[in-house]
Symmetry: C2
């Protein structure tokens, strides 16, 4: 399916460092790239972008993006960009002969909305508008949003100052060629050159279906305040990772999200962030092995910090559309090395302190238990997901492990930290074998 994106206008309310609006970065990614990559995630790869104000710069950026994303982006030039956005839509008429998606360059959204929309194609001569029926959505700017009144899946009225509205226009459409005729009628009959005018014409004929987005994320980035809201919304979405353990959920994740916010602005790949976290853990292990309480405590703090940063690689990957299977695996393998070095450093510290062989054995058990815990995690999680989809339970994992290392180092009790880790991790391994035996 083809996708038309309107990126022609000039934003007087949103000017930063001389950037044109579609190129304003949000968490390291320009707005229009976010829109295109979200559509790519919904399976679209053939784009038609209407550019106008500062068009050369936008088109240059889009050419590079098309190469990087291996997609087709066709330029539609609109020199009448100072007129309303309906004119931009009409400029693309000759390129679009089948049902197509229509998006705005400054409207961010959850790709699932597009997937739902594509699954419900409109009838002949009709279009479908994605509507947000949550009229108290805090991401919506009530002074600027286009309001809609719908009934029985049809759009009745649309406008900015509409009384008795029951939803918002998200700027996401699935269109047929009927839209172009409606836009022309709107210009001829009412001198209204806006997209809303064309939609109003079709709605009057009962030809506009509405699809509720079911509370999914969307935001119109129209001013600096909306940009800040959008950023916060994207960051909050990172919180709810189902595999997060308790330390991740309540300590690491809130902090790592704040760090990721800054990291997105740097030219760092997620794999490079994984490496930074890994070398942090390595340095912490060396500090442990150095001996003495100050080095031990510093190593503990560094280990916990590295564990927090370990959450950033995945977060930045999600924020910057850089998620990959390899990245997840690379991070997991580095984490295993980091865990082992931390525990070995702690063991070395304890052993050098009193040269007792028990510390060596307990340290070994902590290392092997931690490894088996990770080794069994995928299989166990898979089985548990299949068995008890609703139950979450306490997940014993890396976050707890490193936190215990941190506490042990800070309280100058490395032996006890190793003993607790060894008991907890091996106990969990045995418990998993037992649970899977009885439920497999």
């Amino acid at each position: 399916m083809k996708c038309l994106i309107i990126a022609a206008g000039k934003s007087s309310r949103l000017c930063r460092k001389g950037n044109t609006k579609p190129l304003i970065p949000l968490l390291g990614i320009p707005l229009i790239e976010r829109v295109i990559r979200s559509a790519v995630q919904a399976g679209i790869n053939d784009f038609y972008v209407v550019t106008g104000y500062d068009g050369d710069q936008v088109r240059h950026f889009l050419d590079g993006l098309a190469r990087r994303c291996k997609i087709a982006i066709t330029h539609v030039v609109n020199n009448d960009w100072e007129k309303d956005n309906g004119v931009s839509v009409l400029k693309a008429r000759e390129y679009l002969d089948e049902p197509f998606l229509l998006l705005m360059a400054d409207h961010l959204f959850d790709p699932a909305i597009l997937r739902d929309l594509i699954a419900q194609p409109p009838g002949m001569g009709e279009i479908t508008l994605a509507v947000d029926s949550n009229t108290t959505n805090p991401l919506v700017d009530m002074d600027d949003v286009t309001r809609v009144k719908c009934e029985n899946g049809r759009l009745l009225e649309i406008g900015k100052a509409l009384p008795g509205f029951n939803g918002f226009d998200t700027g996401i459409f699935l269109c047929t060629q009927a839209l172009f005729g409606a836009l022309e009628r709107s210009v001829a009959e009412r001198s209204d050159t806006s997209l809303t005018g064309g939609v109003r014409c079709l709605a009057a004929a009962g030809k506009v279906n509405v699809m509720d987005i079911g509370g999914r994320f969307w935001v119109d980035v129209d001013d600096p305040k909306a940009l800040g809201k959008a950023e916060r919304a994207l960051l909050v979405q990172l919180r709810d990772k189902p595999t997060d353990g308790p330390v991740s959920r309540y300590l690491n994740r809130p902090l790592s999200i704040r760090i990721s916010r800054y990291l997105t602005r740097l030219p760092l790949t997620p794999n490079q962030i994984s490496l930074i976290s890994f070398f942090g853990s390595l340095l912490a292990a060396v500090l442990f092995a150095t001996g003495g309480y100050p080095a031990l405590a510093a190593g503990g703090v560094l280990a916990q910090l590295a564990s927090i940063i370990d959450g950033c690689d995945g977060e930045v990957a999600r924020l910057k559309f850089q998620v990959s299977d390899y990245g997840g695996w690379f991070d997991a393998v580095l984490d295993r090395y980091a865990d082992a070095f931390l525990l070995f450093g702690l063991t070395w510290h304890t052993f050098a302190d009193g040269a007792n062989m028990l510390a060596l054995f307990v340290g070994f058990l902590a290392i092997i238990g931690s490894f088996v815990q990770s080794y069994t995690a995928d299989k166990y999680d898979g089985l548990m997901r299949a068995r008890f989809t609703s139950s979450r339970g306490l997940r014993i994992g890396r976050d707890i492990r490193v936190f215990l290392v941190f506490l042990g180092a800070l309280l100058n009790q490395p032996f006890w930290a190793l003993l607790v880790i060894a008991t907890l991790m091996n106990g969990e391994a045995v418990r998993r074998l037992w649970v899977c035996r009885n439920h497999g």
Copy 2:
């Protein structure tokens, strides 16, 4: 699909400890149970078994089997079991009103033959016979086999002393009700009460299709010699496990298969064999830690022996139809513990010998490298299978690891063994990260 099994006859040539033929154990499993479980693997769960000689004993066994396998087994009693086997087939007539499989209780086979047969149902009034066109199959007893002559997918002639034959009757049929009429005609017209007689009647009318088994395993267990051949054939099938490394392939597997042959006769589950191997490794680790060359060497031999027995759990599971996901996983987790304990024992030995911290560090690296090697194996194998289906290459895994431990202990060079393992395993981990990065 229903499955009829003929188990009524008395075998004069195959008498062991007073057992009736269908109940004679082969690698711990009675012949008729092998036939039924092979059919279950091909998706069958509704069986009709014609019993005669010593019928009470066979039926009692089958009732237990039905409960254990959660399948339906209906008894068809044939008190005329001294007559030919066509009589047994006729006794089951009233139970079979749709196309059905027909098997012999003493003919073992690869379940894939049944799956192929089911995929090609015969036409109205026809039956299909699975035929082995390999006329030099060493598993076939040339003095006893029923020979066939086929042309263009049709059976022309069938008989024991057939000249100019081009295949063998495997005793595996997919039948329609036409078979019963043919058997009656054979009795009436030629006084031939054998199944072969009925098939011959149908073949004369051009109503018998043949399906070549494509070189797959089947064997008619008719005398002690055939029983031995069948046992060897089942054992040889265990050799070709694609994930076997070089030490497995050329040293461990040939020995473990010999051990498995005996283990199948004991009431040991595969998981119990995994535990025996695990405790062997644990004892070897304790011997390493004890100190002194004799204990070191004994530990090395025990470790290698445990590694060989570690192959038996899977082999016995396959031979006794006890393969399970859980079993494979349980074994893998125990192997991780066994590896770690062996390497820790060796490290302890080396360290106690000279109290040098380098040994401790190298031992730690060997443990972590081995773990990461296992941790990355599934992912890497999956990727490599997808990428280079044909290439096998050298697989660095547990077999090599334990063999190096064995060599190091035997040659009294535990430090060097640890160093080689640490280098090899961590090098392989880094190589895998690299390969997957470039091909993922």
